[in-house]
């Protein structure tokens, strides 16, 4: 089947969802207050590691207005949840493994009663020595987070070697070595975790939640509640941000349990910001040690990478995050000999989980700053070094996969090389006023798409011509803010010849839409649109054929036009509303299943690494450039200009594409400049958005975005994912700019004024670099 090449604008307004959002009409999961609503809430542990000796729930139960107070024994099904490994209790039954663990669940008539009841719960916790450092966690005798595990605190260890591995460093003319320490990052979506649920009189549980994964949640919650999945209906409205933090259940199991004890009344649960920070998953803090070698011309020869991710108390998606990091650890370059080794380690710290970038920002930070160290050592221009080594189509990537598809890194490098912000960099640096230093840094990054070789990366699209003659697109994958739902309307409209008014959308709902996987992994549009386009095409062909029958014509003479089918030779039209009445509901509906292809190479024989996603075959590429100004007096580093040139295949909607780039860069700049969530003694140090700082409008520069489109054969209309490539590059680009300004790399991120100032002071002492 062939598709028309996309126009830059497909005639629909930018983001059909923007209108209801800008007018305040859109209903998010948290916006429902059905009559008779009860409120549910959780008593959290507040200590990182302890044995649960007992709970005294009597006083809470006795409080007027309290409907139910529940503990682990009340979980009717399996009291363990988790996306890959089920190692997290819904309600703690044996021991506490992090401060955010849930001990008891309360259902009450209103929020004030709920708060009082939670305060009345007495906990009897026997403190255990916590393990808070991932390297210490691997030492013999370290406290064990899951004592029953034969691997101790090691969640997953992975190794990929090619060529002669690290031994090849011996033969390199130049070898540079560096270590990096990267922070825990909070998602800080503005809509905290929430949902509401109700047990119907028919024995079916309906839940509306802010989630990226309604279909997977249904299976998880069903298992926890001991219900057949068919008795659960999960509905996923637009999310108020998610970024990976709502990949997997947050409140859902607890909310389902609350609904079982609510006497048929609706129950709502909505985490406060403090509770959200305490309990939710974060970007993994990471320690990385890199040794990179090249010949004397700067041709990369060998890389050794040692990677440790602090995954906190539960697997969540930690193994998959580490594996994607491992796969991307050597960056977008030809390197014949690599030895990449990674470990995801259990601790009693906050949970490490999915966060936009999914393990790649950490390794990109290490690889790209190491590349600049090498360029400096060789006396080479950093852009030239990257040009020389950039992966091209047909190359074998560092983990041994042949890049048979679109590979536009070299074109991105050229786009940056020719851009004003790069060409004017030397003059701009030289013009730094007194008391300021300036630097311009680059980072080249890649990002794989989808689930890898084992987990089926599947989408199921459904398109219906309604009885009223409107096309309804059943969106099986969540729109957490990135705009894919609107893109699906746009694509359906393109195939079916309709404008916005002839199209409507059904957001993910396990009763109505078909399972299409998670909204994650830069796969959302890539995978779902690959199902949607054929579904729409099949429906179109059927409608043209049926209309032709009705008009005694042939399908080739018919065309779909807005609101109607037209017989082209005669100009006669059959309104879609009329055509719909001639068809059964089955005939008016088309579905299509798509499963993304996988590559045949297996960089590692380890089945665990394959299960966790190694390797991928389709990658987006980008080159990031940051202009940084450092105040010598305060150490404040400001990013005053930013450029990202990205190959994400074809761009279907330039505005949505740019939103993804700018948003990813913004979160990446937060990661580079200010965001870190230390957890001394296992407690998040910050509990609110006044102390956990994310960038404001005053902190971010204009972010210029250059699309460097390629044609991705496997993508819908040539598209590749663009959700994550924007967040992979800002930290190393800023780090490299700072290194240029300061004369040294800072090993620890984020690059706060304190750290920058200390580097400046050491410089002043004549330590040199």
């Amino acid at each position: 089947m062939t598709w028309p090449r996309p126009h830059l604008q497909l005639g629909l307004p930018p983001r059909p969802d923007a209108l209801d959002k800008a007018s305040g009409r859109e209903k998010y999961a948290c916006d429902f207050y059905p009559p008779g609503l009860l409120w549910a809430g959780v008593k959290r542990a507040g200590v990182p590691h302890a044995r649960l000796r007992g709970l005294n729930l009597a006083a809470a139960r006795a409080l007027p207005g309290v409907t139910a107070v529940l503990a682990a024994a009340d979980v009717p099904g399996v009291n363990r949840q988790g996306v890959v490994q089920k190692d997290q209790p819904v309600l703690v039954d044996d021991k506490v493994r992090y401060s955010g663990d849930a001990l008891a669940l309360v259902v009450a008539s209103d929020q004030a009663t709920l708060a009082r009841a939670l305060a009345l719960i007495e906990t009897d916790l026997e403190p255990l020595a916590p393990v808070l450092d991932p390297e210490e966690a691997l030492l013999p005798g370290a406290p064990l987070v899951h004592p029953e595990r034969p691997q101790g605190n090691l969640l997953l260890e992975g190794r990929v070697t090619t060529g002669q591995g690290a031994a090849a460093l011996e033969g390199c003319a130049v070898v540079v070595e560096a270590s990096f320490d990267l922070p825990r990052q909070e998602h800080a979506y503005l809509e905290t975790e929430n949902g509401w649920a109700q047990m119907g009189q028919d024995g079916r549980l309906t839940m509306v939640a802010s989630t990226q994964t309604p279909f997977r949640d249904r299976l998880e919650v069903a298992e926890v509640l001991g219900l057949e999945p068919g008795r659960l209906r999960m509905v996923a409205p637009y999310c108020g941000g998610a970024f990976g933090g709502k990949d997997g259940v947050t409140v859902q199991s607890l909310l389902g349990l609350a609904a079982l004890h609510a006497g048929g009344r609706p129950v709502k649960m909505w985490l406060s910001r403090e509770e959200s920070i305490l309990a939710s998953s974060k970007r993994h803090p990471a320690r990385l040690r890199y040794r990179l070698g090249s010949d004397d011309q700067g041709r990369l020869q060998a890389l050794e990478a040692r990677i440790i991710y602090d995954t906190g108390p539960y697997d969540h998606l930690g193994g998959a995050v580490l594996t994607l990091g491992l796969e991307h650890a050597a960056g977008p370059y030809r390197i014949p000999h690599v030895d990449l080794h990674g470990q995801a380690v259990y601790t009693n710290n906050p949970i490490g989980g999915a966060f936009r970038g999914f393990g790649v920002p950490q390794v990109a930070a290490a690889m790209e700053q190491t590349m600049d160290l090498l360029a400096t050592r060789l006396g080479l221009d950093p852009l030239e070094l990257r040009r020389q080594n950039a992966l091209k189509r047909g190359d074998v990537n560092p983990v041994g996969v042949t890049l048979a598809g679109s590979t536009g890194l070299a074109q991105c490098l050229e786009a940056v090389a020719g851009h004003r912000q790069w060409k004017e960099a030397p003059a701009w640096r030289a013009a730094a006023p007194a008391g300021q230093r300036r630097g311009v840094g680059l980072a080249a990054v890649l990002h794989g798409m989808g689930y890898g070789p084992v987990i089926p990366d599947v989408a199921n699209a459904k398109v219906e011509l309604t009885g009223e003659g409107v096309f309804r697109v059943y969106c099986g994958v969540v729109d957490m803010g990135q705009g894919n739902a609107g893109t699906f309307l746009q694509l359906a409209g393109l195939v079916l010849g309709q404008e916005a008014e002839g199209l409507e959308l059904v957001l993910p709902d396990t009763d109505r839409t078909l399972p299409s996987g998670s909204s994650s992994a830069s796969r959302t549009t890539y995978t779902f649109a690959n199902a949607l386009l054929p579904a729409a095409q099949a429906l179109k062909e059927r409608l043209l054929a049926r209309a032709a029958d009705a008009l005694f014509a042939t399908p080739a003479e018919m065309a779909l036009v807005p609101g109607a089918v037209r017989h082209r030779p005669s100009g006669r039209t059959l309104p879609l509303a009329q055509l719909a009445k001639m068809l059964s509901p089955e005939e008016r509906t088309a579905t299509h299943r798509y499963r993304a292809p996988v590559v045949p190479e297996r960089p590692s024989a380890d089945p665990a690494l394959q299960l966790h996603g190694l390797p991928h075959g389709v990658f987006s590429y980008a080159v990031h450039l940051a202009r940084v100004e450092v105040d010598e007096l305060t150490g404040l580093a400001r990013v005053t200009g930013y450029l990202v040139a990205a190959d994400c295949g074809q761009v279907l909607n330039p505005q949505v594409w740019e939103q993804q780039m700018q948003g990813g860069v913004a979160q990446g700049l937060g990661y580079a400049l200010m965001e870190e969530l230390p957890a001394p003694a296992g407690q998040p140090q910050h509990t609110d958005l006044a102390t956990y700082l994310i960038p404001t409008a005053l902190d971010l520069p204009p972010i210029e975005c250059l699309a460097v489109p390629s044609w991705e054969e496997s993508g819908p209309l040539g598209l590749k994912g663009c959700g994550e490539i924007g967040i992979d590059g800002p930290l190393p680009a800023v780090g490299n700019a700072l290194a240029q300004a300061l004369g040294r790399h800072l090993p620890q991120a984020p690059f706060t004024p304190e750290r920058v100032l200390m580097a400046l002071q050491e410089d002043g002492k004549g330590a040199g670099s």
Binding site: A18, K21, S23, Y33, C239, G240, Q667, T696, L698
Partner: protein, 163 residues
């Protein structure tokens, strides 16, 4: 504690509601009046998602007690346009310039923009950024929001164009 009856005018409609006096305006708007366009992102005055206007001044409605709005005029995102079928020029600019992604900050952001443009009809880019600095957005990087507000200023003051 006894409930207190307050009279508030919200988006031109007068309401009389009996409420617990400790409840925030944000909560009363959302739960009692079902005006859920006002969002709660932190409930601590840090994020700005709950921004509304009271007698034309922008406030964090999560930090404002509902009783403080007694006999005052409250404008929420639902009431910014002249009629429910229309969009205010700031809303139009947000939609057209792509300033909306997840949309959770959008209502508060637009109300802050309204306050800013009422005070300063032709703000510079820096003044726009300063005017928004109490509103967090995690999706956009602010570029398109700043652009939309500049565009809205021009829409609201077309006569000034070209001066």
């Amino acid at each position: 504690m006894a409930k207190q009856t307050i009279e508030i005018t919200v988006n031109g409609d007068r309401y009389e509601v009996a409420i617990d006096p400790w409840r925030s305006l944000a909560e009363v708007l959302r739960e009692d009046l079902r005006l859920t366009g006002t969002k709660i992102g932190c409930n601590q005055g840090d994020c700005g998602a709950c921004t509304v206007l009271i007698n034309g001044r922008s406030v964090s409605s999560c930090l404002t007690l509902a009783v403080e709005a007694h006999q005052r005029e409250v404008t929420t995102i639902e009431g910014l346009a002249k009629t429910p079928q229309e969009l205010h020029p700031i809303q139009e600019a947000f939609v057209e310039k792509g300033a909306v992604q997840c949309g959770f900050c959008t209502g508060g952001m637009i109300m802050s923009a309204k306050h800013l443009l009422d005070k300063n009809p032709q703000p510079t880019e820096l003044e726009i950024r300063q005017g928004l600095s109490g509103n967090l957005c995690r999706c956009t990087g602010y570029n398109k929001i700043v652009e939309a507000i500049g565009d809205a200023a021009r829409r609201l003051n077309p006569a000034k164009e070209g001066q």
